[in-house]
Symmetry: C2
Subunit: 319 residues, 2 copies
């Protein structure tokens, strides 16, 4: 099989396999599915019945919580307990940086949650990535990559895209792009005027840590030949500029951050470097770069709960 | 609602609505689903039991046909009969130009069928589109559009992308791009060296004519400011160059070919003209530009038939 299709299947391992097993239960807040919960997480949530009610079909956040603030506080208390009890690997990396919890990107947020915990609940994750590239006179398009610092909480020492970051509570998309490009690679404000929004990629990855339904707002910037990224926040060990063919090898290698590969693949496809003449699985790959996350949680349980229709088909309030 | 999301829903009307009704039955060839058949078409196929066997679950091409050639001939005979009996609007436009019938793009073809008939069977349709644009010093990115000739079989007199064409039997993708750009817009071979492959869009549209699960290989070409497309095959009435903002109005207007809008939307997103700052439904729109057609027909019936498993779960040859 095409190695790029294999890669696209790898970063969609949950979408292609985990989802259909039915092992994960919908996570419902205010009658709306906002996530999926694995059996190991569900087991721990059973210890907090005043916060999470667990049925055979789904896990629901106590609907008695009145608003965004109360939901946020109650969930945070549980997570801090699980953190101090060392129940989950991912909670070791407590960030004090929160993500919004909502059904899809343009809907209103129901609560916020520390970013290290969102993968326990399969919460939709939004980020920003910037591909920095140069048009080399003889080598053609070359792409800048960063090597993540060895002490990063996630994917330490792995190769990654030049600039990237999660969309935290209170920060805009363009704002995040500007901030991260400054902190991670010292791209000047002047150069950043050449930043181009180029769409998004969406995929659903699973690792030992949890579930990652990720959507990345994709940006690109053409850089001068003599530009060199310089890290200023200590989160990057080194940068390297690679011609397109080497970039393909890099993203396929085992020391590349799996969840950053989609952005590079998308860039290489948009610029014609990967095309139907050299990649016969191009169409499958493109579809796997845009899996329908925005409607994935628009499921039967959400409908049933919001309509108050029970199994037998009668319409009545949800108990 | 966002007018661009409305547009994306319009060219995916079958994907978002028709598909779930279950009214259309899978069309099976050699144990593989290659299409979907509407009730009005199914009704006519009942008159050809030696070619099509119709069950409550699906329509199957007679598996006794031995090979590609025999399948092609037998189906063609039925279609010519339906054509001469004037059973379907779409068959009026007999093309003498065939499309391959296969499960997905990279699988081998099972038969060929006149292109006007493929929408009766919901056969996956592949095409090529080239967006011709200029970088104007004051107006920014401007896009060339064509007005289709008033005597075209489909979408006569509608506005359309600069160059486009279906992928017929025996023609390659790049070859089709080169041929169409020559015939439709007289883009010189020299200029065509600047052609860039930029991925694909996929969507599932339905009209009175039939079902259109369309995948378009997307190309773009930056043209000189003084370039003017000239039609040489009589299929275009006029060309017009529009600044990006006007291009958005054009594709949303009722006189734009609905099934060409995805290519323009994708172009405008890839070039940052439509972005999350000015279109809050950007993510939904991008997902609707890449619906998973390549795996859509990989369904339960195909699995059941290929495994020979009957309703009761026993494994045995298909009758």
């Amino acid at each position: 099989m095409s190695k790029l299709l294999l890669l696209a299947k790898k970063f969609n391992c949950f979408y292609l396999k985990g989802l259909a097993t039915g092992e994960c239960k919908p996570f419902i807040v205010e009658g709306i599915q906002v996530g999926l919960i694995r059996p190991d997480v569900l087991q721990q949530l059973l210890n907090f019945p005043e916060v999470f009610s667990v049925t055979s079909e789904y896990v629901e956040l106590n609907p008695a919580f009145r608003n965004y603030e109360e939901r946020t506080i109650k969930v945070d208390e549980v997570l801090r307990k699980l953190h101090s009890d060392q129940k989950f690997v991912t909670l070791k990396g407590w960030r004090n940086e929160c993500y919004e919890v909502k059904r899809h990107f343009s809907s209103s947020s129901l609560l916020q949650m520390d970013r290290c915990a969102t993968c326990l609940f399969g919460i939709m994750n939004y980020g920003v990535d910037i591909t920095g590239y140069v048009k080399h006179p003889t080598l053609g398009i070359c792409i800048w990559f960063q090597k993540r610092a060895a002490d990063k909480q996630t994917w330490p020492g792995y190769w990654d895209n030049m600039v990237g970051g999660g969309l935290s509570v209170g920060h805009g998309i363009l704002e995040t792009a500007l901030k991260e490009s400054q902190e991670e690679a010292s791209v000047s404000r002047e150069l950043m005027k050449n930043l181009v929004s180029a769409g998004s990629v969406s995929f659903f990855y699973e690792s030992q840590r949890g579930l990652f339904p990720n959507t990345v707002f994709v940006f690109e910037i053409e850089l001068p030949l003599d530009f060199k990224p310089i890290n200023s926040d200590g989160e990057v060990d080194e940068f390297e500029l690679l011609p397109a063919a080497d970039a393909i090898d890099r993203i396929c290698s085992s020391n590349f951050k799996t969840t950053s590969a989609p952005v590079v693949l998308d860039f290489l496809i948009r610029h014609g470097i990967i095309n139907i003449e050299n990649e016969k699985e191009l169409l499958r790959i493109i579809e796997l770069l845009h899996v329908p996350l925005q409607t994935l949680y628009n499921n039967d349980i959400t409908k049933k709960l919001s309509l108050g229709i029970k199994e037998n088909g009668e319409s009545q309030p949800v108990e």
